[in-house]
């Protein structure tokens, strides 16, 4: 087994835009396409990724145990990895919930991710919000970056900042996922459009994910939405992004406001009066 995988950091600057949801879904989608994937939770002290994957009750060792300086406390890296019960190609390396971002150094992160590339095709690093130590750790070992943002000025400005910081530390050409787009709001000019966001950030678009209530339900259940037998539009968007990451040329979903139907037209008629 000598796959030399890619280390990809998933980051955003702002919190709450969907980094962890994106990480879980992309990890699961790539794994379902036959790739060996490991998700590395770099959000020390605010660990979430285990919940989204429904693996929270199986965390025994964390990344810190694998790095312990004390020989007797140390575990092997593969002991800390949790194999997903549904998808054997997917593993999680959990963050330590009891410590904070300073518990690990960028050099340690680099060596861990490098070791993981020996046995995995994709090492996806779920970056914490912010631009401080946690962010620096998360990008340390990465060779590629995915920036997640939502169509809001605050999220876009923060994304712009992290793109600048990554470029300055040598992580060039990040790709963009625009999350939680609401096509009807864009149509009414109440939300930034895909073009507005791309105009400012000026990086390559990897995918657009529409707002979807299913995210809340699947998060609570610990089942990434791409697992669904009848994927919603958002789940389909994540699956498409995964295929683009594998080098396929997948057209972007057309996110248009669905036809309102007869009743909708009737209602609209009344509203107009």
């Amino acid at each position: 087994m000598s796959t030399s995988g890619k280390v990809i950091v998933i980051t955003s600057g702002k919190g709450g835009v969907g980094k962890t949801t994106t990480s879980a879904n992309l990890g699961m989608a790539l794994a379902s396409m036959g790739k060996k994937v490991v998700l590395v939770d770099a959000d020390f002290g605010l660990r979430n990724l285990d919940l989204l994957l429904g693996l929270e009750n199986r965390v025994v060792y964390t990344i810190l145990d694998a790095l312990s300086e004390n020989e007797s406390d140390r575990c092997r890296l593969d002991q800390a990895l949790i194999k997903d019960k549904r998808q054997p190609n997917l593993a999680l390396l959990p963050a330590a919930q009891t410590r904070d971002k300073s518990a690990i150094t960028p050099e340690q992160m680099k060596s861990v991710t490098a070791e993981l590339t020996e046995s995995y095709d994709f090492v996806l690093v779920d970056c914490p919000a912010g631009i401080e130590q946690g962010f620096k750790n998360a990008i340390a070992g990465a060779s590629e970056a995915i920036v997640v943002t939502t169509p809001e000025v605050s999220a876009v400005r923060d994304a712009d900042r992290v793109i600048g910081l990554m470029e300055a530390s040598g992580l060039k050409h990040p790709r963009l996922i625009l999350n939680r787009l609401r096509p009807h709001m864009v149509e009414e000019n109440n939300m930034m459009s895909v073009e507005d966001v791309l105009d400012i950030l000026a990086i390559k678009l990897l995918g657009v994910v529409p707002e979807d209530e299913q995210v809340i339900i699947t998060t609570n259940k610990g089942e990434p939405m791409v697992l669904s037998a009848t994927p919603t539009q958002a789940a389909q968007a994540f699956l498409n992004i995964a295929r683009r990451m594998l080098g396929e040329d997948v057209p972007f979903l057309s996110l248009q406001v669905p036809d309102p139907g007869f009743m909708g037209k009737l209602k609209a008629l009344f509203r107009r009066r």
Binding site: D160, R161, E167, S169, G170, I200
Partner: protein, 233 residues
């Protein structure tokens, strides 16, 4: 003469012998490295074939690891660090250990008088997107080939020219020159400042899709189409 104590940010200057790299004296080293990488990225296309670099760090203390970090960054762009100019003994020793020649005969640092009108430096040419959180300070004119995004800031003692969209903040004539100009292909800034005057972007800004220029007239900042402004002169 330019000295390390008179620069606020990392700056490169061309000279017949090679590039001179000035490091600011009181900026954290992490920030210095970040700025250095930005400057290298922004000017990459113009330095064909690399060359020699003289590092001027004035009173700034640099240890061996820091000199090495600068050296590596330069090396990755085919630039070779050959000489270090410093007034500090420790820095000189560290540089010598790293096998670099040392120049300790820098002229005495002169305190800068903030009020005196100084001669502006050469224009600073940057080919990059100025993203949120990036601040460029220069004692001369700044030329940006790219966009200035919201949250990005340009502070120039001279004019500011943006060959792209100016959506961030720009301050021209920082030392009080009211004749300074700000111009952009698409002028849609958060805030404009010229000398001591400040202007906000109008709420209902119909971007004309043409290059515009901001200047001071009768004590306020005005904006005109660049084509009309030129005709009036």
């Amino acid at each position: 003469m330019l000295t390390a104590s008179s620069v606020h940010q990392v700056i490169f200057k061309g000279s017949p012998e090679g590039l001179r790299l000035y490091l600011p004296e009181d900026t954290a080293f992490d920030e210095v490295l970040l700025q250095l990488q930005q400057r290298i990225d922004a000017g990459e296309r113009l330095w064909s074939g690399g060359g020699k670099v003289f590092l001027e760090c004035g009173q700034r203390l640099l240890d061996g690891a820091q000199i090495q970090a600068v050296q590596q960054l330069l090396q990755s762009h085919q630039l070779r660090l050959t000489q270090v100019g410093t007034t500090r003994h420790q820095t000189a020793v560290a540089a010598a250990v790293a096998g670099l020649s040392v120049d300790r005969d820098l002229e005495e640092i002169q305190p800068i008088q903030a009020s005196s009108i100084t001669v502006a430096e050469d224009p600073l040419y940057l080919q990059q997107t100025i993203r949120s959180g990036v601040q460029i300070v220069h004692n001369g004119t700044i030329v940006v080939l790219g966009d200035v995004n919201p949250g990005g800031e340009l502070l120039a003692q001279g004019d500011i020219l943006v060959w792209g969209s100016l959506r961030g903040t720009a301050h021209a004539g920082t030392k009080g020159n009211e004749k300074a100009l700000i111009m952009a292909l698409n002028l849609a800034p958060m805030q404009l400042r010229i000398a001591k005057y400040v202007a906000r972007a109008p709420e209902d800004n119909p971007a004309p899709g043409q290059a515009e220029v901001a200047y001071i007239s009768e004590g306020t900042i005005r904006i005109a189409l660049l084509s009309e402004y030129g005709r009036r002169r």
